[in-house]
Symmetry: D2
Subunit: 434 residues, 4 copies
């Protein structure tokens, strides 16, 4: 980072520099070495969904003792560590190097982070007491239930899960899928988005979000969905049926019809976190690639792999792509820091489009350099590829962000046309004097 | 096919047209509908490696009764169906639409096909009797053991497994991985490539191939290697230890030091088969994509998905990429038909480079059109992606083929320079008269 | 060609093989060596638009004596050479190697070819006598006036030039640009497309095409438009004002309101010719690249340029791209041969999209291999790039063809959905028996 | 800029903010409106190389009066404006919007800037008096003669021009080309790189740079070389013969054998200037594209061009590519500011590779949106494309920078391998306790 960034680490606060150094050490020297242990401690068969490998709790304890805990919660929150989005972005890059363990060890893993933000920002005191505190303490986990199988979720106004008020209760009926984390035995809470007022003329006021405790009658976790064959146990990405699920009306977030408002506040920083973690993944992939191609045992046609021009070029391109994407993401983070997520929509879109595509391209090259082994679990590359591939849909597919960004940019067209006209008038005036 | 090919189906023999129509019907109406049954009949846990789903044997019986059996074996073989490489290529495209079931149902699946070719071409009468006949009858399966984990196998001269003659036996010691099919309980034979004469000054005469029956003492199938998260049970891609494995000297193929000669004869048509199957996969992926984006339930931002310009463009690009790749592959097949695999090296390289990259690109777009569901097993796309990704290494990585193709093309440089010089002389003569 | 094509030259008629061999010899040994002379014989300053270099007439005479004349006119025409579209496509690839001289020398250059086809197909006997005969004899040249500067011509229904009937005359008023060939002193005829019935409810019946002799009062050739910095004298791409231009009503082609019908018949084969010429350009560019990178005087960092892996890869990719594009184009030609241009719309679109993009990519690599010299006129590469770049707009921009192709392909969606449903029903039936 | 950059304009010094605002106003409201006048004031025919359009001197006078003069000269120089590389980079982006007029109007155009830096840094008092002062005053212009036609100049050790000492004189013999600015009637000085000690074992000590006044006997400017048909008069890119050219030994820069040392100091910041100007070009191209596609007169198929999804996507991609490239370039500038050009080699390479490719891609899309008009001189896009294309060779071709960057990055391989080993040891230690 230090050598590849407009953001000069040395100019950030000493407190942050300390956190940064500690995080780096923790990720490289505690988390990454624990990956193998985590895999071995995972259960077999159905137990994969019931056992949390003990090494994870050990890492959590260590992170907390080091002060590397809940760093995602920014200045706006009493409970927060007070980092700016740029600062936390740099931390997220580091945790991205070990995406399975580091974020959760530091209580900074999705979707809990976004859910905690929602509760901290919009939660009632009772909601905070009941859900936010245990989440902040890493005692429970949570899920966010938005995507549905039967509609094109890329347009969020399409969601259909029905939320009906009956007396002091909301009754939920509908089907969700790709609910990440819902397979985790510690998952105690779902934030469920549905339609409470499908007839509202304002398509962005039809939705509400309600809190549904895991185990509420009528909730059935049907199955985890695999991603390229990976089930991502124990968290999983689950399909869930909500059938006549009843929760008290106190469980609504912010109020009826305000679901869109809630998710808009939630998504900005969360996208930055995701994007910065992909930078970390890409850096680690590039490290694997460099170590592989300089392995003295791997020579072909009389040369080391790293002496083949196309491989050198692959490394150079990866270096460029990673760095330019990091800048895009940090720039979006800075834009949020300077104002708010809404004012940084364009910058966030750019980061959201660029980062997942970048990391897939870097990972693909790294896999290729490893031969078939790169597709196996002897290296983390294929798993990284699979989870990174989901980011081209998560929080909106590429296509939607590209379209929004393009139309956003086109808003400058009118003023640009006016400028062109002024310039042409001046030009004609000059020419007329010739 | 019929509408998108320079190869005019109507001009091929009536016998072939009949085979083609039968295969198409068999794949579309028997194999594809059986995919779900196959999955459900698979064992759970360790049983995945022990149970062969009964539906497969039913399909095999039907294919054989239809005459759709061993079609891969060309005119050169007494046992063969007599198809040309172009003809069998067109059949392989069809079986590629259902890659899990159709090729094996028709006894045309790798690596058996290549192994049968080797035995048919180079096998002694005893070897044929013992191994080729049951393979041709679909009674046993086989594997080809070449790739090794500790060296850069993209340069095949690097392989290290040691083959030592002791009296009337060969003794094998070494480690192999990515041995496809070795997990199958029906796998009865390994063709093992190793070095019998590591000191030979001719690097292409150091290798031999010997036949090792499964279960020979000293052979340990260590583990299947996953591809992304898929284990491809029951066949699998396995790591195998050969420790003091002894086989009679009669088990050598063709003779000591002739391993390279054998694999060179084996690879040409096999690559065409792989490539044509990827065309079939790509066509099926495009069908999935078209059905998805025209699904009336999936509208975004007021439009059907198929009305978004970028999606239409993705479909157009896929159509172009598939067709132009099919032509490359059929051209290579035709070149082999006109002469032999050696004379078609350039055309085979082009097909081998282009086809896997094409299908990955088409699959990626199809996945994207399906949202996260495209990564799950609710659709065959992610699994197709994973298996197609291996083809960028199998039989040599892209990089090796690109390098060989480029250098092959550059052989024309000298004659082209001579032509340029003649043209320049003529040009100067003309100019001098002005 | 012979080594890189599904179309087996040896199976084409001996008569064609002879034409092909003669054309190849003529292009390589007469036309290419004459390029320098042509440039030196060009006038300076304004004379560039008045002088036709004598070497061109010499080449025309030779081509005609060799029987290499008007080969573009197919079997359908009494005047034609009787070649199929595939056959003429192969000829056009050869002439594309020397695009400045060979097509015109053989009286096969655009836009005359399309204009001659229109006159041969739709012309009255008087129109043929007056215009077609001299065109077929290479005595005059012609232009086709469709594109207009003030509307988006990519949608041809937008054109605005007004054609008004007054008594026995049509009166034309409007502005055209990019009228190729209109700068040539030999250009004697414009085929002008305009609106004769702008109020017609059928947007494709509003247009007519009328013949306007060069020099008709009211016609002003305003200026040639440069392409990058090239003016393409003496032909040029001109802007033309039509102001109260009067021609007799006999000068209409086919009849009022039939302009679209005429251009649709005109465009199919013409696009194939353009595409095949780009293949020829690409092959010549690749030859330049290979000769350059093997130049013994050009070594960098201790190696010949052709020993650098990225350059070898560039050559390999160019080889693949050229060959797969040739197949696409020949396939479209064959499709036209088997039926007609209308039935081959999809194949023509694919060729039209792929070929210009391919040649630009090959040219860009070839330029890069030549260093800055590649951008100068010491090599033909930059000029080839400039003229090839226009083909991404000519006869419709990429975007229009991509959109049409995608929507054309999507017509298969319904039948595919029906097939999927049948397959799923069968699948469910099988599963239900488990 | 203000909205798209990690570099917060508001945090830069008020003095710089003032310069920035003045430059922006000057470029947009003085330079761009003067482009047409400049073109009209250019001479015709040979006069193109003799006439300097008067509007340029007017712009120079205005820029100087505004204090927008010699801003490129950094803090290190007594004569300098004291801007950092980041600051001047931001200025260069603005001048890049009008590359023909703004840089020269502000006395900041290549190659004079680099030559002035060399003279300021290494010049003797006499050299400064004679050449630097008039250059700084915009009274004369200069050229830098390095590239040669007969060798692969991408490896600068290949240059062959001979510099031989005879008594108190150096005698130069050799051939140069692509000497930008040498066609300008005001060009009074060439900095010529040649070999003064071809036998030196150290390949980087063989070269010297000597000052050759224009008009010195033996110097023949043979011809300007066109770039895609553009001659770039009056500056031009010229071929020059040096035949027995004699200059006094006082004309050497820094000393014999120190040519490489000189050019290395020269290239770093100069590359940043080039790259930032390409950002400005890209921004202006994107403006043209947006104005074009929102032109109400340009509708196709019932929609405005800006309503077609693929065009919106092109704009979005351009926005991303421009911004991420700007970050790369500013980062390199900042790295130089923090240390020196040598320490920023990697960052400079990244910028040098990315910027020209980015601007070509943005320009190509902008051209495409303009139809054939985009290739003409009615818009500045084609000319921008041509001049930007030279940047993929200038100061070293892409291939050389990619190779250097890749190898530079690979220097991290050993320490990364060591880190991996430490991590694996820790991992094994953890596993062993399970």
């Amino acid at each position: 980072m230090a050598t590849n960034s407009l953001v000069d680490l040395k100019k950030l606060s000493p407190k942050f520099q300390d956190l940064y150094a500690k995080t780096k050490d923790f990720v490289e020297n505690d988390c990454i070495p624990a990956e193998k242990t985590f895999d071995l401690q995972m259960g077999k068969g159905d137990q994969r969904w019931k056992v949390i490998p003990p090494v994870l709790e050990e890492l959590k304890a260590k992170a907390r003792s080091l002060g590397l805990w809940n760093l995602f919660l920014g200045k706006a929150y009493a409970e927060g560590a007070g980092l700016s989005n740029v600062e936390y972005g740099l931390i997220a890059e580091l945790t991205g190097r070990c995406p399975k363990l580091a974020p959760e060890a530091m209580n900074c893993s999705a979707p809990d982070t976004g859910n905690m933000e929602v509760l901290a920002k919009y939660g009632t005191p009772a909601q905070k007491e009941k859900w936010l505190i245990p989440l902040l303490n890493g005692k429970i986990r949570s899920a966010f239930a938005m995507t549905e199988p039967r509609v094109a979720s890329s347009d969020a106004t399409n969601i259909e899960l029905n939320i009906r008020r009956e007396g002091n209760e909301y009754v939920l009926n509908g089907l969700k899928w790709w609910i990440s984390g819902a397979g985790d035995p510690r998952c105690a809470l779902y934030l469920v988005m549905g339609k409470s007022d499908a007839g509202n003329a304002d398509k962005h006021r039809q939705q509400s979000i309600v809190l549904v405790p895991a185990g509420t009658p009528g909730v059935t976790v049907v199955r985890p969905l695999p991603v390229f064959g990976y089930d991502d146990a124990p968290e999983g990405h689950c399909e869930i049926i909500f059938k006549d699920v009843r929760v008290p009306v106190e469980n609504i977030i912010l109020g009826e019809g305000r679901g869109f408002e809630v998710i808009q506040g939630r998504l900005g920083p969360g996208r930055i976190h995701h994007c910065m973690r992909t930078i970390g993944i890409a850096e680690r992939a590039l490290e694997y690639m460099m170590v592989r191609v300089t392995d003295p045992a791997r020579r072909t046609f009389g040369k080391g792999l790293h002496e083949h021009g196309t491989i050198v070029a692959d490394i150079a391109r990866s270096r460029i792509e990673i760095d330019q994407t990091r800048f895009l993401v940090l720039n979006a983070a800075q834009k949020i820091d300077e104002g708010n997520a809404k004012g940084a929509l364009k910058e966030i879109s750019m980061a959201k489009i660029a980062a997942p595509n970048m990391v897939l391209s870097v990972l693909d090259r790294a896999i290729q350099a490893h031969g078939a082994g790169g597709l196996s679990d002897d290296f983390p590359l294929a798993k990284f590829y699979a989870s990174s591939r989901t980011l081209r849909f998560a929080d909106g597919p590429d296509e939607v962000h590209i379209s929004q960004l393009g139309r956003n940019e086109l808003r400058r067209a009118d003023e640009t046309r006016a400028k062109f006209q002024r310039q042409q008038e001046k030009s004609r005036a000059l020419v007329s004097k010739l």
